[in-house]
């Protein structure tokens, strides 16, 4: 019996080992190595293999320009995002600003609204014919109508789009400050700003440093904003080259590979610095009894007024696109075209329904454009994009969580051999998303990959599976970091207790450990789902008509809108689609953070409240004296 149990355990370990090796070598290492080698195997005009051809091309040509532009964007973003992000957190968590709750809600909109939908939202407002630009031009006719374009527009958009991490992580760091340290400094004669710079800020520096590195990488790998607004950055160029043909230009694929590898090298250097810094150790609170931070009133009235104005201007920048897009999603195409709210033009057509559009040609004949106006739930393309994104994101987010939970269970049981597994799951962090997707697109677009049983994963509907794998792989490092942290909260004695009461390892895991880590797992699922649901970069890299995601459809709406009498309300449907993304992301976040993360105490309280309400409504009988044991 014992031998059988041992054999079963060995078999499980073996299957697990094979699976993780397959995942690591097959879908992380080999495709990316293939990309790397493709740089050195290009053939020159004479048909000979020339390992230096692409590098020489790079050194001589305009490719450097893309790298420089991306670096410029990354460096600028580090400055702007840190300034805006840190001020958002200070305004809502550290300083006493009136209406902080409302401000926080506005600043957090980027959690449900981002990617290509955010960029198109900003274009809707700030473009040369955008609502805000038109409004400003009315009062300042001499201003530059095209102020929102190129580098400035990308920087502006990304600055406000990339503060989510500050709102999540820096907020936690500031909330962890022991207020006694602030009081102690004040007691020793330090002024308000000395306390901030000498006591508070140093405790935030480690988090700020991590955020800086993450922002730098985001800037370097930017895709949505540069491609929608129009800016020569690396990623859009990689995607362009990946889809190009040798008939048009010199070895485009190898050049795409080289740009991807350059991105990877930057990422590796940055992550090494981050890792080194993190190992040096973070600030640790030595407080025996922590006191909750009390918000600081800004004593200087002038500074106080300036801070309030600054806070509400930021609030407007964050919330105006959301509000206006919400409103315009209920306006007809005429009002949207004019970028002016028309109180007589309310409609639900951008969401549901379809009708034809009749128009008169210059020769006077009336023509009909069939289904020129349709809502997102009635437009097959939009609906299909939404469905595809929903399916891909759900599968990938869930698969990522399952893989990481299983891996963490192993890592915590086998500390030594677990290290290899941990590093293999963190590996995608070293590679820019675009490199992984590009590598997949090239490597799996073949019938000769033996470990996919000769199946071309890029061909036809197979690409959906390839995208699920890519989505999953890209999200593994984040999932691992978050879920692994939650495993640390499991008291070892719980496992011993369950074992002592006769529970086997599977039951102990499912009934004791999993419920403890479940809030973190759900949070990771939600954050990953929300990001993937609206992601554009990866699907644009795959660029397959068999997997046109929601974000790609949204982006294409900007283009189709320009075509006369066809897809007339594309801009309206774009607004409705953005609202849809916000609703879906909001629901997911609510279900996970609001409901899923409740601990048993909160769940029991909620149950009690529900019961009381039902009793009040007379829908159930009054409860027996309290305490009937929980149902099994």
């Amino acid at each position: 019996m014992k031998k059988m149990r041992l054999d079963a355990a060995f078999a499980v370990k073996l299957i697990g080992g094979v699976f993780f090796a397959y995942l690591f070598f097959g879908f992380m290492l080999i495709p990316c190595l293939n990309t790397l080698t493709s740089i050195f195997t290009v053939k020159n005009a004479a048909g000979q293999t020339d390992p230096m051809a692409v590098i020489n091309f790079f050194m001589a040509g305009t490719m450097k320009h893309y790298v420089f532009n991306s670096l410029k964007l990354a460096v600028s973003l580090v400055i702007t995002v840190n300034i805006v992000g840190t001020s958002l957190v200070l305004l809502t968590e550290y300083f006493d600003i009136k209406g902080a709750k409302l401000l926080r809600a506005g600043y957090m909109t980027t959690l449900i609204y981002g990617g290509v939908s955010l960029v198109t939202g900003y274009l809707f407002l700030y473009h040369s014919d955008g609502i805000l630009t038109s409004f400003l031009l009315h009062y300042f006719p001499n201003m530059n109508a095209s102020w929102f374009s190129g580098f400035n527009a990308v920087l502006f958009t990304m600055t406000f789009a990339c503060t989510s991490n500050h709102m999540l992580f820096l907020r936690n760091a500031i909330r962890g400050i022991d207020y006694n340290t602030v009081e102690a400094a004040r007691n020793l004669g330090a002024g308000q700003f000395t306390v901030f710079f000498k006591v508070v800020l140093p405790t935030l520096l480690p988090t700020l440093f991590s955020l800086t590195v993450m922002t730098f990488i985001t800037g370097l790998c930017a895709m949505s904003a540069p491609s929608v607004i129009g800016y020569d950055a690396i990623n859009p160029e990689i995607v362009r080259l990946a889809g190009s043909s040798t008939a048009d230009e010199s070895f485009p694929q190898a050049r795409a590979a080289l740009l991807s590898i350059i991105l990877a090298m930057f990422t590796i250097v940055l992550l090494t610095i981050l890792n080194h810094y993190e190992r040096k150790g973070h600030y640790l609170s030595v407080s025996k009894t922590k006191t909750k931070l009390v918000k600081q009133k800004i004593t200087n009235p002038v500074v106080n007024v300036i801070a309030h104005i600054y806070a509400y201007v930021l609030f407007a920048i964050y919330s105006l696109p959301v509000i206006l897009i919400g409103l315009f999603s209920f306006q007809n195409y005429g009002a949207i075209k004019m970028k002016k709210l028309d109180m007589s033009a309310w409609t639900t057509i951008n969401y549901y329904g379809r009708y034809d559009f009749e128009y008169t040609t210059p020769r006077g004949t009336v023509k009909q454009s069939v289904d020129a106006i349709s809502g997102l739930f009635s437009n097959d393309k939009t609906l299909s994009g939404m469905k595809i994104s929903f399916i891909l994101s759900t599968f990938a987010a869930a698969l990522g969580c399952v893989i990481v939970v299983v891996a963490c269970a192993y890592i915590f049981k086998h500390r030594k051999s677990g290290i290899a597994l941990e590093y293999s799951l963190l590996f995608p962090w070293l590679l820019p998303t675009i490199l992984i997707c590009y590598s997949y697109r090239v490597f799996f677009n073949s019938d000769s990959v033996w470990y996919t049983f000769g199946q071309n994963l890029y061909r036809g509907k197979n690409v959906m599976l390839l995208m699920i794998i890519a989505y999953t792989v890209v999200k593994l490092p984040f999932a691992l970091r978050m879920i692994k942290a939650s495993f640390y909260t499991i008291d070892n004695e719980l496992e011993d207790a369950a074992k002592n009461l006769g529970s086997g390892p599977v039951r102990t895991f499912l009934k004791v450990k999993l419920p403890i880590i479940m809030p973190s797992v759900l949070a990771v699922f939600a954050l990953n789902f929300n990001e993937l649901f609206k992601e554009y970069d990866m699907s644009a890299t795959f660029h397959s008509s068999f997997a046109t995601t929601y974000a790609m459809v949204i982006k294409s709406m900007t283009e189709t809108d320009a075509r006369a009498y066809y897809n007339l309300n594309a801009a309206g449907r774009q607004c409705a689609s953005t609202v849809m993304i916000m609703i879906v992301s909001g629901i997911i976040l609510y279900l996970v953070y609001g409901v899923g993360s409740r601990d048993i105490t909160e769940r029991l309280e909620a149950k009690k409240r529900r019961r009381a309400l039902l009793e009040k409504l007379g829908l159930v009988k009054k409860a027996q004296p309290e305490g009937s044991p929980a149902d099994d």
Binding site: A497, P515, T601, E626, A630
Partner: protein, 343 residues
Amino acid sequence: MIRLNDIGVTFGDFKALEHINVHVKEGEFYTFLGPSGCGKTTTLRTITGFIKPSEGKVFMKDRDITDVPIEKRNIGIVFQSYALFPTMTVYDNIAFGLKIQKLSKAEIKKRVARIAQKVELSDEQLAKAVAQLSGGQQQRVAIARALVTNPSVICLDEPLSNLDAKLRVQLRNELKAMQKEFGITTIYVTHDQEEALTLSDTISVFNKGVIEQTGSPNEIYNHSRTEFVCNFIGDINRLSDGIVSRMNASGAGLSPENHHYIRLERIHVNDASKGGVTLSGTVESMEYYGLYIKYTISCEGQSLKVIEKNDGERPYEKGETVSLSFSPDDLMIYGPDGREAQR
């Protein structure tokens, strides 16, 4: 009931336990006492099955259980942290083991209700989450969970260590009463000598992976067999060479090679009738505890600690000259090897 025969446990090169021999009788309250890292929890985990001994055998009711898996040993455990499942209600925590035994719902309900009544947990508390209970109530849940499966033995691993002093004393008494009521064989691990002395029928004192002494609380306290035990249990004075010389001058016949100890309460202040040796000293300091007063008295160049019952008389003041008397029979004497020496 439980017998450990020459148990040894090794972790790599480190010998955690050596030649551990324990015999726990049916219904007995048996305590493993010792400082941190002495091996007491390792011994307990060997009994419960979490650690497989490198040497020796574990017997339960004369049956060799050394290789029996944890869940088949029928031993209940109360962990130091209580290890209550935080995502379950109190009821579900207690019922966990019964569900694994696949008992019917009605039977589970009945048994949980019965044990809850015994450990004084109300129906209302059963429906709560464990985090909603106080430390004392959580301890009762842990005990109920360990007892509901009717184990032959219950093991408690420092269950009071996370509680404040007042609650610790209160629960200590409740624990003892509960053990008497259930009549269950109990093995208790603690580093708190007061807890061990008040609760136990038998105590084994551990040090560096070996048992220094096993005996009743009285034997351990008054007849400590090793210098370590005498130092670890209670407060004690080691007499300086000066005092030993003075005693020898009055014919005590003590070997200067040995180490001589005397407990605080065996020295009497200004009461020559209580002892055969009387020395003169000066009060250095006084600590007032209410029930008793603890003095530090300088005598023959040594600071001796003395406890006097608070009988309402005026306490001695700092600088006051007093006489110290004690009987040579109350001395605890150990050889240079730390073992009890012949008088």
